[in-house]
């Protein structure tokens, strides 16, 4: 797979470390109500879709940026690549 890095252009996926579902960007507030349930969901439960999946890739063998990649898990087609820092909180 080639990941079209927003700053560096197309890079081989093997330069990256895969960190899974992009829900990890939205860490629950530990002071919120039901924070125990929210952290169980955050830490362990995944939608794991067959189809479009938003996920985090870390460019360890490159510029060490975190990318938010939208990819189809059935075809391995990469639909969109963004810098995670540009999307946080959106």
């Amino acid at each position: 797979m080639l990941i079209d890095h927003p700053l560096l252009g197309p890079r081989d996926a093997s330069e990256f470390i895969y960190m899974g579902d992009a829900k990890l960007l939205n860490r629950p507030n530990w002071k919120s109500q039901n924070s125990k349930t929210k952290f169980l969901d955050y830490g362990y439960l995944r939608k794991n879709p067959a189809g479009v999946h938003k996920e985090l890739w870390y460019h360890e063998q490159g510029d060490r940026s975190w990318l938010l990649v939208t990819r189809n898990t059935v075809t391995h087609e990469i639909l969109k690549v963004e810098l995670a820092r540009d999307t946080k909180g959106k």
Binding site: Y18, Y44, L45, R46, K47, N48, A50, H53, T73, T75
Partner: protein
């Protein structure tokens, strides 16, 4: 149908005209006591043990494709019980004991071949870890011994003992480990379940569950509605898809694992060998092909095919361990979808929906677990209580912080 040496001879004389299909091809009835969703190794084993040990025979196994079309037909066929943790090791030893008696019990030649499993180590600290693991194995009643370089050289003289980066220091040896003809496991369980009255319904996809007041009372399928008192889901890589139909998120990611087979070679590899410095394991099939594998690709996938970097990595591991295979040609590669759980260990448990049960999260270790998984799931379905050797494989271990994490990697499925 009973198999025997005499029957083989007799059929040979009759031109093999007397063999019959191993299972019927029934239409689904309207009602069952138990429906098993997923006709793979684990689902068929569950149906068999329900019928044989728990005397429940009004069962349907519904399978989306053809019988055994998933991971039971895609794995690298290794059986072993060389785990470390007390929640895991007795379960896998129970499984190995069931394997040892499987052919007699099913009257079916699944070619259980206990040629031994070697885990090679390359450093002092790795040796210490394997000593600890070997002791854990012995405590569960399994067999294990530590081999030094001299003993290892007698068994497998072709390894690269003097490798300058990863010199071989010895191995953990489980003589009772080995390989099994994987498809025959599915066929054998199907034959014996069917002969006890279990309906195996192929090409019948489960499209939804029938749920009322928090209770499950059947499934909707592409062959119509089928009702039952209990439903057991057992669908490996499709777990999240199936449970997602009723909004249950699982502690599971689906990943692709590739497997490989070389062209047929003369007998050279005596048992199963695993590389301690990279991820590579190999055995030789009865047809002569080297059957090997390594890491999962590492990203969520339902594609049943992987990518080239992992093929390169696995082959590099193989050549580093045994340079002699460098000129063997790769014949085939394929991929299967693994239900990678958050701690690398499986789940056999009830769900929050009453009468709906779940078995999954086997990561890429599900094949060796097939008999015990079927037995323990059957126990849970029949009695509503977990079987003792599987009593820790519960959903709530994640919220209770009681993870069963063999490698200590944390909640990162692609590292298990």
């Amino acid at each position: 149908m009973k198999y025997s040496g005499f029957k083989v001879l007799w059929e040979g004389l009759k031109g093999n005209t007397g063999w019959k299909p191993l299972w019927r091809n029934p239409d689904p009835k309207k009602n069952y006591d138990i429906i098993i969703v997923g006709g793979g190794g684990h689902g068929l084993a569950t149906a068999y043990y329900l019928a044989e040990k728990f005397k429940i025979t009004n069962i349907a196994v519904v399978e989306k494709g053809w019988l055994g079309s998933g991971n039971i037909g895609r794995n690298t066929t290794i059986i072993r019980s060389n785990y470390l943790l007390p929640q895991n090791q007795p379960f896998y030893e129970f499984s190995l004991k069931l394997w040892e008696n499987l052919e007699q019990e099913l009257n079916y030649n699944s070619m259980v071949s206990q040629r031994g499993v070697l885990n090679i180590f390359h450093s002092d600290s790795q040796r210490d870890a394997f000593v600890r693991r070997g002791n854990a194995m012995l405590m569960s009643g399994a067999d294990a011994s530590l081999l030094g370089v001299d003993a290892l050289k007698k068994l497998v003289p072709f390894l690269d003992f003097q490798n300058s980066r990863f010199p071989i220091k010895g191995a953990l040896w489980q003589p009772r480990g080995g390989t099994v003809r994987h498809d025959a496991v599915a066929w054998g369980y199907a034959k014996e379940a069917d002969s006890r009255g279990v309906d195996i319904i192929e090409n019948c996809e489960t499209t939804n569950f029938l749920i009322k007041n928090g209770r499950c009372y059947g499934v909707e399928t592409t062959k119509g509605v089928i009702k039952s008192k209990k439903v057991g889901v057992c669908v490996a890589g499709s777990s999240s898809q199936v449970m997602g139909k009723i909004g249950i998120n699982l502690p599971i990611e689906s990943h692709v694992l590739q497997a490989f087979v070389s062209e047929g070679l003369k007998p050279v590899i005596p048992g199963v060998i695993t590389f301690g410095a990279g991820h590579f394991y190999v055995s030789q099939s009865n047809k002569g092909g080297l059957v090997f594998g390594g890491d999962i690709d590492g990203y969520n996938s339902y594609a049943q095919r992987g990518n080239l970097p992992v093929i390169e990595d696995v082959c590099e591991g193989g050549v580093a361990l045994m340079p002699m295979i460098g000129r063997a040609r790769l014949l085939r590669t394929w991929g299967g979808i693994m239900d990678m759980s958050m701690d690398g260990s499986p789940i056999i448990d009830k769900t929050k929906i009453r009468n709906l049960y779940f078995n999954g999260g086997w990561c890429y270790g599900g094949f060796k677990a097939t008999p015990a998984s079927g037995f323990c799931y059957a126990h849970l379905l029949a009695t509503d209580k977990p079987y003792n050797d599987a009593k820790d494989f519960l959903f709530n271990r994640f919220e209770r912080g009681r993870l069963i994490d063999e490698k200590g990697q944390g909640n990162q499925p692609n590292l298990h």
